[in-house]
Symmetry: C2
Subunit: 716 residues, 2 copies
């Protein structure tokens, strides 16, 4: 049986798991009528927002699809549409599951912590498995069609371009979803907090706050749908670029190449199975540690994945010690194969080397999880230092939070650097690619851990609004605090894998360049000033992008505050609790603001590489243009890694410092320290949920646009 | 007359200007007895701090001098000591002038705004001219000795190493001074604000606040002494690296080389004269615009510098159209001269080309000044958007401030990129170097604009504490608000020139490498993963360094808050105004904290390049080690540029948003918006005065250490 069928079967298993688990979730009690009313309002808002967001994105998508069709042909345009549509569907399903699971989690949390955890985690697992499963199905199905019925060689240009176009579709949708959802969720959250907690002195999720439904809608459209689209994109890009880099760099005959190109898909497939097994291990122990329960699932998946990956590799390659793509296959006379490209493939590598690269990928994932927990968990120095600094006021809270934020990229950068060097020494650029693939193979489990967070956050909101007993809220709060850490984990994981993927994408860029423009001597040396300028302009992008995101949230949150103030002023019955606020008006306001604000920054990474190439080419010639563009791709990752990690870890730390104080430390709720911590949390919100995570798809888009630009320039 | 004498004469003129203007300042009335008492307390604190700081730095300095002597010989060690000692002296004189001018400015402001402005600006001009004058004297004097009495050829290794060592001395002292002073000033400022304005509800500089003297001491040791040492370093490094790059890259006979190497010094010299003339143009017009008055001086200097630079270039080179270092001089067979190094010198350049490069340097300075004013001035969108966001609370103030901070590097990066490309196209790396030299030639004027700020800040404090009439405080406040912008300008200017200087330093690094290790093929291409790892680790440094700075200020400010709270608690007479707080205790506490906290982060950029080289060499061989080290040098500037500009512009914008509200907008003093703006100002303080500006010397140190490491490795 061709290996690609096995990958497709694993993808289908993920979908079946999703359907079965959905039924389990749906069969649980949705609580009393009041709870269902609230849940319905959230559902309605979330669907309305997502519908409008997708309609807007669809316009951009159709335009881009036409451009892709014009420059690269119909097959690539089809790839683009598959990636785009499935990315959208993933987000849509993720949102739909979570708006149904939230109320059921609240209901289950009435009985026990385990009940709430199970319900929330199951719904997260559905999203997780669909992200991985649909991602795998899209790549494997498309690849099967191209190399099977369509009859193309695995390293045919049309296969490569189509895989890149597929990744582009996923990335383009996901940046809109991440950013639009991120702006929505944080504008509503910040606005609700400012006017509710700070001004009116009412607790979070108080039903008298007109912004409270919008806040809960935001959890679903941003933290759930946006995140799912983002991770779908990461999955598709990582597997896709691994396959593309094999096609471009490894010199082997078509049959061997085909085998090697299916390996990433099979690894993705077997890890879906280990992830599904892992989900059944998520159970509270005697210590009632929620993080411990989640870790049980995570580590089960990691440990089972070790033999699974080994046997998958052995199954595909046969002998693990045969040299692949090595000296025997390398032919320095092959047109377009420069010495650098040869070096980039690794002098030679074996199946064992690839296996070890994937083990390094798993180890890097574990290390990033641990580091993120250290920076965002309530048990360690960083969060506690922010909590302590809150005692001396808003200013010191924010200063210490920024200090933690700036500090947090250090360890991730070092472990990523070690992983890059180790995988490269084992198997060159292909080794780096397989390291990234192994990381993403765990996506099903990692997304499950993340997607459970917004469900518990919503459940807490519903419990509060429906007036459920305090212990329900305590349980959902405990679940939610861990959710802050797991959310930060996913982001660190996504950006860490993006660093590896970006290096592989750069390898693909240089290889394409020598292939398309064999007579152009492009100097990528650091002593070329166009390289420096490219690095600087690339490094600028995450900063400017972050500025757009922060400004958008600030502006939209400001209008939420004004809307809520107006509602309180026009109808004093709202605060008295006698009349119901106009929730829909606030939801509608945030919807419009988020859609409006997401357009320009999302286009920045699409247009910037094109602009830089054409401007530098006009000034200094095509070789300089390509050098600057290549350097821009690395500049984006060099600063993007730091911007993204510092924002997501810093934001998570701020949030949990507030929760740590709310647990009764440094004066507890209502103290001056708590007020300062609320300010820090507010600042951290757009850091961690809007600007920071959107850097990940941004990095990929920049790289993919460059690859497509090359292909388009070569074709025309 | 040898040109170097002309440069020395110009340096001496600057010193004479300093002495004469000092006498003018000292002859002014120091005010009444109460004012003199306060000023004396500030002087005492500042001298005590600077004494202790220099004793600590001296220990490090002696150790490093011995290391330099061991590896590179006594002449280089002498160069190191000259740089180090003069950097220290510059800071010391700057502080001494400003602690005497502060009280005289307060006294002069009793009469008129013009009186206050003249006094404060004169004292700033003394510091400015001494920075440029002593910087020029140190380089010109040392170069004269080396190429004259000592009889070395201008491109002799000993001359190059000694100039680099001189720069190293200046850089090493200045990073300690910038960081130590920065921690002192902001710990005191933040602590005083938190406990005074926020907790006790007393105004800034209220004499009942025990931290108020420490706050004023900080202005002198941080914003004045630290800044002066930093700009001295920037001056020496920029001129030094320009001369070194000429010696390394330009292939000409000794006499021509000597002439070309003296050109940067003569340009520095003539611009001292134009700067001195500019200082006399600083006068308020009919509109009473302070910024306008300062601009008159600045633009006078810029415009006069255009012909001055032209005639200096013509005087040195004779015919402006003769091709220098061009094809006629290039000998591809010269050992160690790789094709890249030839390309790096520019195919050929003329005196006219160098002149245009220097004009680009002046234009870049003007552009950076304008951009910084836009981002930090109260008349433009950024500051006003922060002020507006303050209406909805602390959280939105900080979010908008961070948004402005993230946005602010965009325009500077673009104009710097344009300048790099334009100067490179005119005259290669030498062109970039001359662009940077022209920027720094204006240092006398730019430092004058900056150093006037802390004097007016202090004057305001003295006026408040001495109970002078309100209109005096209004005048000093108006002067101080402009000071926030000019302070940000200097930092943007320093970091902008650092970006150019870092490219030149990288050119020196690669040239040295081929000279010292001609048989080692070092691959600086972006497709080398060790280059990527080097870029990532280099980009990490400014983030980690920033984290250290922010943490240090947060921690030290926290202990100030606790000390002040204890003083209020132990003696209720302080708040009642019947007993005097123990100012000295707070000064002493901040002194100890600042000295302790500055050590580790200052050593980070010294040790990181050495560690990266040895670790990567151990893992992957010397060629990879050098590649990673080279990439690290560019990684530092790539992220350092953004970290530094975002912090200094963001911090300045926060500070002026507060002042804009205090001017009666958005509710004015005491409103909720004002409270939020105070939080933003507090957060911005360590951003703009501690972490941000210290990135500039950090970038240089990293680069210089790499050059010295190369020389040491080659010699041993």
């Amino acid at each position: 049986m061709p290996i690609v069928y096995a990958a497709i079967v694993c993808g289908l298993i993920a979908v079946v798991y999703g359907i079965i688990t959905s039924r389990q979730v749906m069969s649980a009690s949705p609580g009393n009528e009041r709870m269902q009313d609230i849940a319905a309002a959230i559902q309605e808002g979330a669907r309305a927002y997502l519908g409008r967001q997708y309609r807007t994105i669809a316009i951009v998508g159709v335009v881009v699809a036409l451009i892709v069709a014009y420059f690269l042909g119909l097959v690539s345009a089809t790839g683009f549409l598959i990636g785009a549509i499935l990315s959208g569907i993933t987000g849509f399903i993720g949102m739909n599951v979570s708006v149904k699971a939230n109320v059921r989690t609240a209901e289950a949390a009435r009985t026990s912590l385990q009940g709430g955890l199970t319900m929330a985690f199951r719904s997260g697992a559905i999203t997780g498995m669909l992200v991985a499963g649909l991602g795998l199905l899209s790549i494997a199905g498309f690849f099967w069609y191209l190399t099977g019925p369509a009859g193309h060689a695995p390293n045919d240009r049309i296969v490569i371009d189509s895989l890149v176009a597929l990744a582009f579709g996923a990335s383009l949708i996901s940046i809109f979803a991440r950013l639009g959802g991120g702006i929505f969720t944080k504008a509503a959250d910040v606005g609700a907090d400012l006017v509710g907690k700070v001004e009116a002195g009412i607790p979070e999720d108080d039903p008298r706050n007109p912004a409270t439904i919008a806040d809960n809608v935001g959890d679903n459209v941003g933290d759930c749908a946006g995140m799912a689209a983002d991770l779908f994109e990461t999955y598709v890009v990582t597997l896709g670029v691994t396959m593309v880099s094999i096609a471009l760099l490894v010199k082997a005959d078509a049959a061997d190449l085909l085998k090697l190109m299916t390996l990433p898909m099979l690894v993705g497939g077997v890890c879906i199975i280990t992830s599904i097994i892992g989900t059944y291990m998520v159970r509270l122990g005697s210590g009632q540690s929620i993080m411990g329960a989640l870790y049980k699932g995570f580590w089960t998946t990691v440990i089972l994945s070790i033999p699974a990956i080994y046997f998958a590799t052995q199954y595909v390659l046969g002998d693990m010690h045969t040299v692949i793509g090595g000296a025997a296959f390398l032919d320095a006379a092959t047109p377009g194969l420069t010495p650098e490209a040869v070096a980039g493939t690794g002098a030679s590598f074996t199946g064992m080397a690839l296996f070890w690269c994937m083990m390094i990928g798993l180890a890097l994932t574990g290390a990033l999880v641990w580091i993120t927990e250290y920076y965002t968990g309530t048990n360690y120095r960083p969060v506690r230092s922010i909590a302590k600094a809150s005692e001396t006021g808003h200013g010191t809270n924010v200063i210490q939070g920024l200090a933690v934020s700036l500090e947090s990229p250090a360890l991730p950068t070092i472990v990523i650097s070690v992983a890059v060097i180790a995988t490269y020494q084992l198997a060159g650029v292909i080794g780096i690619a397989f390291g990234a693939t192994a990381m993403l193979a765990l996506a099903g489990m990692v997304v499950a851990l993340d997607a459970y967070g917004p469900v518990t956050d919503n459940a807490g909101g519903i419990a509060e609004m429906a007036g459920l007993p305090d212990d329900v809220r305590h349980r959902t709060d405990a679940l939610d605090a861990v959710g802050n850490t797991t959310k930060a984990v996913t982001k660190g994981y996504a950006i860490g894998s993006a660093a590896l993927a970006a290096l592989v994408l750069f390898g693909a860029y240089t290889t394409d360049l020598t292939e398309f423009f064999p007579n152009l001597a492009v100097d990528f040396s650091l002593s070329n000033p166009y390289v420096i300028v490219g690095l600087l302009l690339g490094a600028l992008l995450p900063f400017s992008f972050g500025a757009f995101g922060m400004t958008a949230v600030g502006r939209a949150a400001g209008s939420v505050v004004e809307d809520v103030r107006a509602q309180f002023r026009d109808d004093p019955g709202i605060m008295a609790g006698t009349s119901r606020p106009n929730y829909a008006r606030t939801v509608d306001l945030v919807t419009k603001a988020a859609i409006k604000e997401m357009i320009v920054p999302s286009l920045l990474p699409v247009l910037a590489p094109i602009a830089v190439y054409f401007i530098i080419t006009a000034v200094a010639g095509q070789a300089s243009g390509f050098a600057a563009l290549g350097a821009l791709l690395l500049g984006v990752i060099v600063s993007g890694l730091f911007v993204a990690i510092s924002m997501t870890s810093g934001g998570g730390a701020w949030d949990n410092a507030k929760k740590y104080i709310e647990d009764g430390n440094h004066g507890g709720k209502g103290s001056e320290a708590h007020k300062a911590a609320v300010t820090g949390d507010t600042v951290g919100d757009p850091y961690k949920d809007t600007a920071g995570p959107a850097v990940n798809p941004m990095i990929k888009i920049t790289n993919i646009v460059a690859l497509l630009l090359l292909a388009a320039l070569a074709a025309h």
